[in-house]
């Protein structure tokens, strides 16, 4: 009976995960939420509207002040494992954190959260040497007061949705190429819409060795600012999330040494799966976690819009009595509250899926979790860190994460990641629209904040795969597998 759809593992992630969760995760998550709320009170809310207004006026302004503050508060190392010099908070708590921040300002939440998209991409390669090197530089940047953020550079002028699916990238119009030369690669091409690009020190660049066969020639390179042939182009003029720059990255005969290769599909021969299969596993690993984060943004903006509407209804009279005491307004507010709650539940379940079957599995295994949490830092830095440079470590972790992962594992994590992403981001847009309808003229004003939520929320339906692509992924992961006749991306 339990082999039928819907499969128990897909509908009981939280139930299965609960008894295995280290108790300290609950304390850490509460700490993360409390920290975010303090940060919102002291930094985000006082500065959010002014940053947005300033970007209206000066589109090329870069929010370095905010980034320095976030760096001082420790947000850029919070979720980096202690093994790599970070504070080692559990990754599922990141969704709660970005929800809190996005409820006050989605752009500022992105200025922190998108750094972890770069971190997740780096980690999905399981290149332990580069993970250790780059993330320790972020930790050192925190100590030295020099923020060292990491971005993901994947979108190209002619290919957005395509680059997130191996089946689509095979037919895509990609142009960013890494050509093998002695000692490294020479990169040419452009990347666009790179969140935090201008503010980041490292960029996880996804490009292709053979442009006519990108599906078998994907390569992930670690690009550092200052490399010859690498430069920043323009900042996009976005409708919302203005405080978080969307950058153009330009590569003109940029030489990248072999030691900066995070992952090369052509080397996947040592792994069990085909090159395409391993590449898709890598992409799925990133998006299964990052889409839970985007769902956190969506939940946050949905909540921010709800809170603006609630505040307005509590102080505004319509027809001789407070709006909040009209039955119809109470029902609209309840609908908005429901949208937030349902959105949150989807990212919670996604994180449970990732803890059971995905990227967080090893880190949430109690012995390893407590070992890394309580092991004195000096031991980690002096004994464990040097081991990370050994190729065997990378080989071992790749074996575990790629070869040991079953198809049903990544169907569950990837499917939930997509479901959370489009559910929560649709909720964000819906609540922003409802808030404006409830608030009328007040909702239109920049100085009231509600209209900013609407502008900010719309981007969430587009990036990290459009919500249409994510719906197709849910079909692929959860629905199509039990219908032999079903084909995806073969319209």
């Amino acid at each position: 009976m339990l082999e039928r759809e819907p499969m128990p593992r897909d509908i009981m992630c939280g139930l299965d995960a609960a008894p295995r969760l280290p108790g300290a995760m609950r304390r850490e998550t509460r700490q993360a939420v409390a920290l975010a709320r303090r940060f919102n009170d002291l930094v985000v809310r006082p500065g959010a509207l002014e940053l947005d207004r300033r970007k209206h006026e000066e589109p090329d302004y870069l929010p370095w002040d905010f980034v320095h503050q976030a760096n001082r508060w420790g947000f850029y190392t919070m979720f980096i494992p202690r093994l790599f010099g970070g504070q080692g908070y559990n990754m599922p708590a990141l969704s709660y954190l970005v929800e809190e921040l996005a409820s006050a300002c989605t752009a500022m939440s992105n200025l922190i959260g998108v750094h972890y998209l770069g971190v997740a991409t780096l980690c999905s390669s399981w290149n332990m040497r580069l993970m250790n090197k780059i993330m320790r530089e972020t930790a050192e940047g925190e100590r030295a007061g020099k923020p060292c953020l990491i971005s993901l550079a994947i979108t190209e002028p002619g290919a957005g949705t395509d680059v997130e699916e191996v089946e689509l990238v095979a037919r895509a119009n990609v142009t960013c190429q890494a050509r093998k030369v002695p000692g490294g690669f020479v990169v040419n091409g452009r990347k666009i819409f790179i969140s935090n690009g201008h503010l980041s020190t490292w960029h996880m660049l996804i490009c292709y060795e053979d442009l006519s066969h990108p599906e078998t020639s994907t390569i992930m390179l670690a690009i550092r600012n200052g490399m010859e042939g690498f430069s920043f182009g323009r900042q996009e003029r976005k409708m919302g999330q203005k405080g978080c720059p969307a950058s153009e990255l330009i590569f003109e005969d940029c030489f990248v040494p072999d030691e900066n290769v995070c992952f090369r599909a052509a080397d996947a021969g040592r792994l069990k799966g085909s090159v395409e299969h391993v590449t898709m596993q890598l992409i799925d690993a990133v998006v299964s976690t990052s889409r839970a984060g985007v769902a956190g943004f969506g939940t946050g903006v949905a909540r921010g819009a709800y809170e603006e509407a609630l505040g307005f209804a509590s102080e505004t009279e319509v027809g001789g009595k407070l709006l909040i005491n009209h039955e119809w307004a109470q029902c609209i507010l309840a609908e908005m509250y429901k949208n937030v709650a349902v959105a949150r539940l989807t990212y919670i379940e996604t994180n449970h899926a990732n803890g059971m079957y995905g990227m967080f599995k090893a880190l949430q295994w109690k012995p390893l979790f407590y070992y890394l949490k309580y092991m004195p830092r000096v031991v980690i830095d002096r004994v464990l860190a040097p081991l990370m440079g050994l190729p065997a470590m990378t080989g071992l972790f790749r074996k575990i994460m790629f070869d040991w992962q079953k198809e049903s594992d990544y169907q569950c994590t990837s499917g939930w990641g997509s479901l959370a992403k489009f559910t929560a981001t649709d909720a964000g847009v819906k609540n922003s629209q409802l808030a404006l309808e409830l608030m009328g003229r007040a909702g239109l004003r920049h100085d009231r904040g509600a209209e900013k939520h609407l502008r900010d929320s719309k981007l969430l339906q587009i990036y990290e795969g459009t919500n249409q692509l994510n719906r197709l992924n849910v079909f692929k992961c959860f629905i199509g597998r039990s219908v032999p006749e079903a084909r995806v991306f073969e319209d």
Binding site: A170, R171, A172, K238, Q433, E437, R445, I462
Partner: protein, 377 residues
């Protein structure tokens, strides 16, 4: 809408489309940066010259003496390209209609006679039912004049027009009255342009009055009567704005879908893209039909036209928000960028939905009128 139009309306249609193509197609992004870029006074001056600010005024006031259909046609045509100018025309026309409903055409005779845009325009809080924005108090100051004191939010064209039509309450009297206020006069403080969601070139300002002189328009305490009388016809005009935005949005989405490639072929050849385009096309067609019917009924003063106008506005404005959301989605990341037109249409559609008051309250008013026996069809 076009198949039912007479020759005069068709000429007006051609003229409005031509004006939009000549004056509004270029520099949309730059104009939309207001208040951080220059205001488009030159375009307004040319709109004044072709009569866009006097479409419904009677001939004796050198107006076009046209009805709701002509006004809607111009607004729709302009909104297909850039809705901000339509917002200016809408607000100004609403103020004129209120003054005419109050029978005070003398106040309008002075406006625009010398061809100066600022003097031709009348500011008004067009995103409110005035009953929701009564921060002003009016007291007699002798000789039939009134002194107005208090604050009023979000007066559209407040920083652009020479005069404003403002609602105010009078001590000891029920309801509210309208007053014409010289915005350059003593005791008037007009705030900076309010940065808003959409219609950036149709700016609003908060206004503080401290004993400012105001001329009563119509009868004391009759403001709500005048507003209700005009709001039905102006609902059609607001629906026309939403329809124009939808049409512009659909046209751009369809064109883009035929050019952009995904997975090795034009995105228009993916069936989910076609499904979304179909939803948009149905929305545009239904809006066009509803609008045409509303215009025709209003022109003919057919029974039930007022209720039909309100219902059409509520429905079309909501559809426009959905269509423009999909309009961005079909362009992906490009749709979110100011370089393309879709993000502005998304913002403008939501802004236009707020014209004439809170959406849920407008729905409740609608059903109240039905319950009270007014005919819907």
């Amino acid at each position: 809408m076009r198949s039912l139009m007479d020759a005069e309306l068709k000429m007006l249609d051609e003229m409005a489309l031509d004006f939009a193509a000549r004056e509004l197609k270029e520099k949309k992004e730059e104009r939309d940066r207001y208040p951080y870029a220059p205001f488009f006074s030159d375009v307004l001056a040319r709109a004044l010259a072709v009569g866009f600010f006097s479409i419904t005024l009677p001939e004796e006031l050198e107006g076009g003496a046209k009805g709701a259909w002509a006004l809607s046609l111009v607004l729709e045509d302009i909104c297909r390209t850039d809705a901000s100018l339509a917002g200016v025309i809408f607000t100004n026309t609403l103020a004129q209609e209120l003054i005419m409903a109050a029978g005070d055409t003398a106040s309008l005779a002075a406006a625009g006679a010398n061809g100066v845009t600022r003097e031709a325009l009348i500011a008004f809080p067009s995103f409110d039912n005035p009953v929701e924005n009564l921060g002003l108090r009016a007291e007699r100051s002798g000789d039939g004049a009134f002194a107005l004191t208090g604050s009023i939010e979000y007066v559209v064209l407040g920083g652009v027009a020479a005069r404003a039509l403002l609602p105010a309450v009078m001590p000891g009297r029920e309801g509210y009255s309208f007053f014409l206020v010289d915005l350059a006069g003593r005791g008037v403080e007009v705030g900076e342009p309010v940065l808003s969601l959409g219609l950036h070139s149709c700016p609003a300002a908060d206004i503080e009055l401290d004993g400012a002189a105001g001329n009563l328009v119509g009868e004391e305490g009759s403001g709500a009567k005048y507003f209700d009388d005009c709001a039905d016809r102006m609902s059609i005009a607001s629906a026309a704005m939403s329809t124009g935005i939808m049409k512009g949005c659909f046209d751009e989405a369809l064109e883009y879908a035929g050019q952009r490639f995904q997975g090795g072929r034009e995105i228009v050849n993916w069936s989910e893209v076609r499904r979304i385009l179909a939803e948009m096309a149905v929305g545009v067609t239904v809006a066009d039909s509803l609008l045409t019917q509303a215009c025709s009924s209003a022109e003919g003063d057919e029974p039930g036209w007022r209720m039909a106008a309100r219902a059409a506005a509520l429905h079309i404005q909501e559809m426009a928000c959905d269509v423009t959301t999909d309009g961005i989605q079909l362009l992906g990341g490009n749709g979110y960028m100011e370089d393309y037109g879709q993000e502005k249409r998304f913002r403008d559609a939501k802004q236009v939905q707020a014209l004439l008051g809170l959406v849920p309250v407008r729905k409740l008013d609608y059903i109240s009128r039905l319950i009270e026996g007014e005919s819907a069809y």
